[in-house]
Each structure stands twice: as structure tokens, then as C-alpha cells.
């Protein structure tokens, strides 16, 4: 049922540093509902990868189950993908990353997939600081099973069926910071201007990067009574700070006024310039970062942007002290100690 978009290529399409056009980052035609926030996120992923000039085949797309988790079929058609089972993408991504540390791992999940059935795996993939981007397409509901409340649905928020969500919502960003994630951001599928650079920064960050994207479900949860609707989010969103993301090897042309801008250098030389506003918090520290989220929660506002960044953490491979060579490329001679060693070993069992 999933068809590939026509292969025809317009010769004049703009190309990125690797000579690819945006089309090279597209996938099959989406089968989601027209207007679904998830499709906008897919587009933002396409843009981010195109603009970062990533080699498409060097990316692996991972997902669980849900409308959101279907999207890897709709972007990056030249990348391998793994649409696994409900809530278990983090473990699959962990294994994949262990096998080949050279690929870029982009995980896509839903709020049901992550905050309910996948909560355990989510917390623990954060704790491992796996080098991946973990995107939650957060619509506050279970789209694919027809609109039940998810654990990120705010108490009192009501979708199409008109029933209010009964329980307090879970803020995945706050959890991720508390567990020690080094990059935590929140975006909105309706705000491409903010989302694309967020994704670019997240991809460039080494270690675990969470991007929680509020992504309205137009079919089940875009009502006037829902806090995950386009309207509500537009009315309530505020940003921590604006920022520029400067990829590595790009000349820094802008001059920033001292004191108002904080710069974070990423592991590959890219730089994030955070433009502080009055009373803005130091998001490079987890304590104020968490406090800001709690404050906005109290105020009933939605805090977006980069919520926390810490470039000093080791990722899983560094923690485990594995070799630089991808493990999947090691051959017999590096793996198998041979019979002579075996005979030495078994000698100790005599």
C-alpha cells in the first residue's frame, strides 16, 4: 500500500554540501490523516537532514508502533528503518547503536509508545545516554487505536469523545533531565522555524537527545477543549531562549553582545548560541532547567525550545569503553582468539 514518490528529479533543485537535493531525503507518500502534525515533523526531519547534509544511508530510522511510528516510512527513503514493536524501540536502538556506532540514529515514537508501554525503556535509554535522537510525536492520545488518552494528556483536557482526561500528565522532558539526558528540547509541529534547528542541534549533539514535539492529532484530539490542539499550543507556548545553531566548519558571521548570549560547543565543533532574554535560565545546568519546567507547569504554559543541554557527558560507547571501529565490522581475526588460546583456557579446567 505504501508507494514511493516519483523518482524524477528536477535538475535545478538546490543541492546540499553532499550534492543531494531535498528529494533524496524524502520517503514514501504518507498515509496519515490530512493535517496530522506527524507529517509536519517528518518534513522537519527531512529538512534537518538535508540541511545538515547527512549521508542518507548513514542514518538509521527506528520506531515503535503507532501513527507516529509509521512515519519512518515517509522520510529518508534511502535509510534503513526498523519499525519494531510497541514501546520497545529504545532497546532495538540500543542494540543497533552498539553494533555500529558510526550511523546516526533517529528514533521516532508516540506519546503512547513512550510514556505508557515504553516508559521503562525510555527512562533506561536516557540513563545509558545512547547516542541517538529520540523524537516523541506527542499528541496526547493514542491515534492509531482511535483516540484514547495517553499519559501526556493533561488532566481535564478533552479530545473528540468529549471525556476529560482523568490523570495528571507526564512531562517527558522533565523526566529526561532528571534521569540525566544531555540534550532535551520541546518543539511544536506547527512551528517549523523552531523545529528544524532544534532537530539539527539534537542530531549534532553526541549522546541522547530528546525532542518532544507537540503534534496535534487532527482526527481525535484537535478540539477546543484539548491542550494538544493547534490552537491551544499556539496560544500557550513560550520559548526558553531563541538560539542559532551553527554547524561545524561554518564561519560564525554574527557578533553577539556579551552577556546576552551563551554558546555551547558540540562535540563535532558545531556551536549553539543561546540568546538569553530577561530572567532566562541557565539551561546548561539541570537544576534550573528542571525548575523552569516546573515553573511553567505551575503557570499552565508550555515551555519550548532547548530546555537543557550538557555537552560533557559520555555516551554509552564511551562509558563501556568499546573500540572506535563499529563492532559489526570486526572480522574473525579480531573476534576469535583461536585454538591455541582455547587450549590455554581449558588447561585451567583440568
Amino acid at each position: 500500500m505504501s508507494s514511493t514518490r516519483p523518482g524524477f528529479r528536477h535538475p535545478d533543485l538546490p543541492k546540499n554540501d553532499l550534492g543531494y537535493t531535498r528529494r533524496d531525503y524524502e520517503g514514501a507518500a504518507s498515509t496519515l490523516c490530512a493535517g496530522c502534525g506527524h507529517d509536519s515533523i517528518s518534513n522537519a526531519i527531512i529538512n534537518a537532514c538535508y540541511e545538515l547534509a547527512l549521508e542518507p544511508s548513514g542514518i538509521a530510522k527506528m520506531s515503535g508502533i503507532g501513527c507516529s511510528s509509521k512515519t519512518p516510512a515517509y522520510f529518508l527513503g534511502k535509510s534503513h528503518g526498523f519499525n519494531s514493536v510497541h514501546g520497545r524501540m529504545p532497546s532495538i536502538a540500543t542494540g543497533a547503536d552498539m553494533a555500529n556506532r558510526d550511523l546516526v540514529y533517529i528514533g521516532v515514537s508516540g506519546d503512547g509508545d513512550t510514556a505508557s508501554i515504553g516508559m521503562g525503556q525510555f527512562i533506561h535509554v536516557v540513563r545509558r545516554n545512547l547516542n541517538m535522537v529520540y523524537i516523541v510525536m506527542n499528541n496526547g492520545c493514542y491515534g492509531l487505536t482511535k483516540g484514547q488518552d495517553s499519559a501526556t494528556a493533561d488532566r481535564g483536557s478533552a479530545g473528540k469523545k468529549g471525556r476529560q482526561s482523568l490523570f495528571e500528565s507526564i512531562d517527558l522532558c522533565e523526566l529526561a533531565i532528571a534521569i540525566g539526558a544531555g540534550f532535551v528540547a520541546r518543539g511544536f509541529s506547527g512551528d517549523k522555524e523552531q523545529l528544524v534547528p532544534l532537530l539539527k542541534a539534537a542530531i549534532t549533539h553526541k549522546g541522547f537527545a530528546l525532542v518532544d514535539v507537540i503534534s496535534p492529532c487532527v482526527t481525535f484530539n484537535n478540539t477546543t477543549t484539548s491542550t494538544k490542539s493547534y490552537q491551544w499550543v499556539r496560544d500557550h507556548m513560550e520559548a526558553t531562549a531563541t538560539f542559532d545553531f551553527i554547524p561545524p566548519r561554518k564561519e560564525i558571521t554574527t557578533q553577539y553582545e556579551k552577556g546576552t548570549t551563551q554558546s555551547v560547543t558540540l562535540h563535532d565543533g558545531g556551536v549553539i548560541h543561546l540568546h538569553k532574554s530577561d530572567g532566562s535560565v541557565d539551561i546548561t545546568q539541570r537544576r534550573p532547567a528542571i525548575d523552569a519546567l516546573e515553573l511553567y507547569r505551575e503557570k499552565g504554559r508550555l515551555l519550548t525550545g532547548i530546555l537543557h543541554i550538557n555537552e560533557s557527558l559520555k555516551d554509552t560507547h564511551d562509558i563501556l569503553e568499546t573500540v572506535e571501529t563499529p563492532l559489526n565490522s570486526l572480522a574473525e581475526k579480531e573476534l576469535c582468539p583461536g585454538n591455541q588460546v582455547l587450549q590455554q583456557i581449558i588447561e585451567t579446567y583440568r
Partner: protein, 608 residues
């Protein structure tokens, strides 16, 4: 009358767990092994850390019958909690060794046994200065005493100690002292007391004494596993511990970095997920677990079956159901492992019977999993995995290369004629060609999924396509029959009416039982199963006999069920011999059960 004999008896140690008895008892067993005497120790320990009863049973058998025998001829009874039980269970004519610090109660009044009281506590208090060591060395003292009683060469014990503490020779000293104390005490007080003797033998020239989990870990090391996800659970934990130990030594690059990633996961779902993700991405990966973990891994096993992802899963079985008896053995995950997960699934199983096979089947398991692109489950168990077993030396053929199965590299992708499809059955064997992520800039990418897909890996809800893929998976299953290890068949008499089928840790006891029956004139051919799916040979063996005894360590005759349904065997032809109390099956149980069945058959008028 005292029990007598050379190299043929069972000794049991009754201890309190956490008291350091395990290593003393192992020292005793190892010393016997080094005397060339066939020996099989069984550690019967509680699911607890400290203070509960634990037993260590050693069977010594010159003929090499090393299944559990049942009963005990000699007991070292140093656990007050079980003293009475240990006393009562001793075979008539047996020997009861105890610490004379404890006065035996008046109702310990058997006159058919020999008491051997050694003042273990007293000796230690007197002779060992460091009070911390006293408790530990008490155990060594009784080992020294046993050496004398059984007439063992003392040097083999001291040598064992010395090699054990090669790196910390300081620690060897007090141990040797304790041995000597025990030896001398016995020599002085129990000169000719014991008629059970040990004599150096030549039975074990090349053999090794190893537990199955260590061998499994070596199999994973030699098989080239680079990623392991795991979650602690008895009795599988030591597979990973050993793998960790070996890779820390043999998988380092020059700078000390690791050519392996071992991750303790948050649970078994994640453990298998890690292995699957890594396998999908072209690394050899595995996990090890036990029953409860298998239950939790069901969903991922179904995904691996349907999306065709290789993975090696070690199931070190224990006594179920549920938490059951975590430190007791059983062969009772067979049905679940064979059909794990909802929908039509079927999984490849291998059944090692000793550490050597643990090693080989684990290493081969990676080839098999990658060749078949499906999970391969190694069905070990607690008895095999955690007890030491005598077996032939492990060997590795240095000319061997890994069979990574049908994987297309960059070059092959480019030279393909026709469109590549991840699930296209090009060769007619049901196995398709896969690609690792990142192989090629333009070619060979696809989305792996557990939802229904067509030959080109695209999502589909088309009923014909779905059915085609399922039928092809059935074909692959047929192909698997040609690849899994063949059964080990012994036809003592080609015209015999009776056959016995067994596998794994039921093997030793089965052979012994059948030998016993053979000496009574009952000839039984044997087939040791080594893999599932079953080959034609399995059916042929069954077909050629009138009655088949299926010997296994579970309640429901799970392997029998599998044989009937997979080979299309008449159920009444397969007679179940089960043993499921959590202890390893004994030869006596098997031969007795078979005798009873034959008697009943005869009474019903069936010819033998």
C-alpha cells in the same frame, strides 16, 4: 556391614549457604577429577544468600556413569538445621561425618552406619589464629579428613590449592595447613574406618571439568558475538559473567578498548531487544536468560520470527512454572520456546548435553541463526549450566570462518540483476537476502517491520501477499531441518522393539539406565535429540521401533508432544518417562519406570 568399594560411591555435603563450603567441596571434586576418577558434582543450593541449607553431592564412578545416582553413601553433615534429615537419608552401611562440637541427640540411634566425628570447630579454634578464617577453613579441614579416609593422594589436594591460589600464594598456606590438620586427625583417629576408597585412575586423560555456562560463554566468544544484552537471573547469570571475564581478556585492542559491548539491561524485554537491534545491524548478538525471561521475551521472539532477524538466545532452564524453584533444574521450557509468541510461529532449538556441546552449539548457533535469519534458542538448564561436568576438551578449527548467511555487500548489491527484495525467495529455500544498514548509498535500504510486508519489505494488508510470506516461512522451516544438528542415534540391535529418546541433561542417566536394562536382557536403542526442527532421521528412528520411551525432565512430556505433532507420530507409541521434582533425573528412576511399563505391557499381553 559397611559399604565398600573403590571409585564407586556418592558423597554428600550438608552445609549452610554463605559459609564458604562451596569452594571446599569443589576442591574435593576437583581433586578426584585430577586423580583421573570420573566424578560428577551437583550443587543443590537454595534461592537465598546466606543461612539456609545447601547440599553438594559428588558421585564417583569409575565406569563413567555420571548422571545423578540418588542416595548417598557418605555424608559430611555440618549443618545443624538438616542434621536429622541427613542422618536418616544415609544409606545403610554408610558413613556419617560430623563436627564433634555438636553432641548427637539421643534419637540418632542407627546401628547400621558408621559415625565419624571430627572436632572441626575445636581444631580450627585451636590451630587457626585469624578468627575470620576459622569458619571458612573448617570446611577445608573436613576435606583433609576425607582425603585420608578415602585413601586419596594428599599431594593432589595440595596441588589443587596451590594452583587455585597461584596469584595469591599467601592464601594457599592456611588452606594447606587446614588440609593437613584434617588429614592427620583422621589418620590418627580413623585409621581403617572407611571402606569406600578412591584410587588414581586413567579414565580421564584428556578431559576437562567445566560448567556449561562457562562453555557457553566461550562459545559466544569464539562464535564472534560482539553484543550482549542481559538481565540477571539464576541460573543464566554466570553465562554473561563468564563472557564478560573472557572478553575482558581476549577482546581488547592494543589500547585496552573493548571489542564487545555487554549491557546489563533493565529487564529481559530490553535484553532481547538489544540483541535483536544489534543483529539487525550486522553484529553477532545474544542474550541469556531463564524461564521467566523467556515468558517476557515472547513478543520480541515473534517479531524476530516474522521480520526474520537472527539472534542467539540461551535459555538456562530452571524449575517452573512462574518463579517456581529458581535454583532447581528442569527441562520444561520446551513447548514455550518452540512456539513462543502469538500467531503461527516456530523457533529453532538446540539441545546441548554437556559443556563441550554448550561451546559448540553456541558457536554454531550464530552461524545457524544468521543462515536461517531467525532466533536460535540454546536449551541448557541449571544442572548443565551451573554444575561442573567432565567432558572432552573444547576445540576450535582455526580454518573455520563464520557463516554470516545471505547478506549482500555493496559490490553484490551493485551487480544484482533485477530488483532486490528483502523477502524475495531467490534460491527456493525460503531464505532471502538481507542487507546491513549503511551498506550502500542508494541500494538495499528497506524498513524492517513486524507488520505484514511484501517481498520488497513494503507494508501490505493484501491477503495473498501475507499468505505467500507465511508459506515461505514454512518452507524456510523445512530448510532448517537440513541445518540443525542431527540426532545422535545408537542402534544396539537393529531389530530391537524398544527405543529411547532423550536430550540434554537427561542423557547421562538415560545411558546408564539403558545399560542396566541391557544387562537384564532388555535391549533399547537410543536417540539423543540435538536440534529442533526434527529431521527425517528422527521420525525414521521412531518408526523402526514398536515403543519409544521419551525421557525428559518436566511434568507434561513436552518433548513428546513436540515429537508427536511435528513428526506425526502415533501418541500411543511414545511413552513418557518424566522426572520433574527439580533435582537432576537419576538412572534408577528411568530404569525403574521403564521396567514398570514393560511389566504392565506384558501383563496386558503385549509381547516384549
Amino acid at each position: 556391614m559397611k559399604l565398600e568399594g573403590i571409585n564407586d560411591f556418592v558423597i554428600r555435603f550438608a552445609n549452610v549457604n554463605g559459609s564458604g563450603s562451596a569452594s571446599a567441596n569443589a576442591l574435593f571434586a576437583k581433586s578426584l577429577f585430577r586423580l583421573g576418577v570420573p566424578v560428577s558434582p551437583k550443587n543443590i543450593f537454595p534461592s537465598n544468600i546466606q543461612g539456609l541449607p545447601t547440599w553438594y553431592e559428588v558421585r564417583i564412578n569409575e565406569k563413567g556413569n555420571l548422571g545423578r545416582r540418588g542416595g548417598y553413601d557418605f555424608i559430611v553433615a555440618v549443618n545443624g538445621q538438616t542434621l536429622k534429615r541427613d542422618y536418616e537419608g544415609l544409606a545403610p552401611g554408610g558413613y556419617f561425618m560430623y563436627d564433634s562440637a555438636r553432641q548427637l541427640p539421643a534419637d540418632f540411634a542407627r546401628d547400621d552406619i558408621t559415625l565419624i566425628n571430627i572436632p572441626l570447630t575445636q581444631i580450627c579454634n585451636r590451630e587457626i589464629e585469624d578468627p575470620k578464617l576459622r569458619q571458612l577453613l573448617k570446611n577445608i579441614v573436613y576435606v583433609g579428613a576425607l582425603a585420608h579416609l578415602f585413601g586419596m593422594e594428599f599431594s593432589v589436594l595440595t596441588d589443587s590449592i596451590l594452583s587455585q591460589y597461584k596469584k595469591k600464594p599467601k592464601l594457599a598456606e592456611p588452606n594447606i595447613k587446614a588440609l593437613t590438620l584434617g588429614f592427620e586427625y583422621a589418620a590418627t583417629h580413623f585409621q581403617d574406618t572407611c571402606k569406600l576408597k578412591v584410587k588414581r585412575s586413567n579414565k580421564l586423560t584428556r578431559h576437562i571439568l567445566m560448567d556449561g555456562n562457562t562453555a557457553t560463554a566461550l562459545g559466544a566468544l569464539y562464535g564472534g558475538a560482539t553484543v550482549a544484552g542481559w538481565y540477571p537471573i539464576t541460573p543464566s547469570t554466570s553465562v554473561i559473567e563468564a563472557f564478560d571475564k573472557f572478553t575482558s581478556q581476549y577482546r581488547l585492542d592494543d589500547s585496552g578498548k573493548k571489542r564487545v559491548a555487554i549491557l546489563q539491561a533493565e529487564d529481559e524485554l530490553t535484553a532481547l531487544g538489544i540483541a535483536l537491534g544489534a543483529s539487525w545491524n550486522g553484529a553477532r548478538a545474544f542474550t541469556a536468560t531463564s524461564g521467566p525471561g523467556i515468558s517476557l521475551m515472547n513478543e520480541f521472539l515473534g517479531l524476530a520470527y516474522f521480520a526474520e532477524i537472527p539472534v542467539v538466545l540461551i535459555d538456562v532452564q530452571r524449575t517452573g512454572p512462574s518463579t517456581g524453584m529458581p535454583t532447581r533444574t528442569q527441562q520444561s521450557d520446551i513447548l514455550l520456546c518452540a512456539c513462543a509468541s502469538h500467531g503461527d510461529t516456530r523457533h529453532v532449538l538446540l539441545f546441548p548435553c554437556d559443556p563441550k556441546e554448550c561451546f559448540e552449539m553456541t558457536a554454531d548457533g550464530f552461524d545457524l541463526a544468521e543462515r536461517l535469519q531467525t532466533p536460535v534458542i540454546i536449551m541448557s538448564d541449571l544442572d548443565l549450566g551451573m554444575n561442573d561436568h567432565i567432558c572432552l576438551p573444547l576445540e576450535w578449527d582455526d580454518t573455520r570462518t563464520y557463516d554470516r548467511g545471505k547478506v549482500l555487500d555493496k559490490h553484490q548489491l551493485e551487480s544484482l540483476t533485477g530488483k532486490w527484495g528483502r523477502y524475495l525467495d531467490k534460491d527456493g529455500d525460503g531464505i532471502c537476502y538481507r542487507t546491513y544498514p549503511g551498506t550502500h548509498q542508494r541500494l538495499g535500504s528497506y524498513v524492517t517491520r513486524g507488520s505484514s510486508h511484501d517481498e520488497f519489505a513494503a507494508y501490505t494488508e493484501d491477503n495473498d501477499t501475507y499468505q505467500r510470506i507465511m508459506v515461505r516461512l514454512g518452507k524456510k522451516w523445512q530448510t532448517a531441518k537440513g541445518l540443525v544438528p542431527k540426532p545422535d542415534i545408537k542402534l544396539t540391535d537393529t531389530a530391537a522393539d524398544y527405543g529411547a529418546v532423550f536430550f540434554g541433561t537427561s542423557t547421562q542417566a538415560s545411558h546408564e539406565a539403558i545399560e542396566t536394562l541391557g544387562s537384564q536382557g532388555i535391549t533399547i536403542n537410543t536417540m539423543r535429540l540435538r536440534g529442533f526442527p526434527f529431521q527425517d532421521e528422527v521420525k525414521a528412528f521412531i518408526d523402526r521401533h514398536k515403543t519409544i520411551f521419551v525421557i525428559e525432565q518436566n511434568r507434561d512430556g513436552q518433548m513428546r508432544t513436540l515429537l508427536i505433532s511435528e513428526c506425526g507420530i502415533r501418541p500411543d507409541k511414545l511413552v513418557s518417562i518424566t522426572h520433574f521434582d527439580g533435582l537432576p533425573v537419576t538412572a534408577g528412576h528411568i530404569s525403574y519406570s521403564i521396567e514398570q511399563i514393560l511389566k504392565a505391557q506384558m501383563q496386558q499381553g503385549g509381547a516384549q
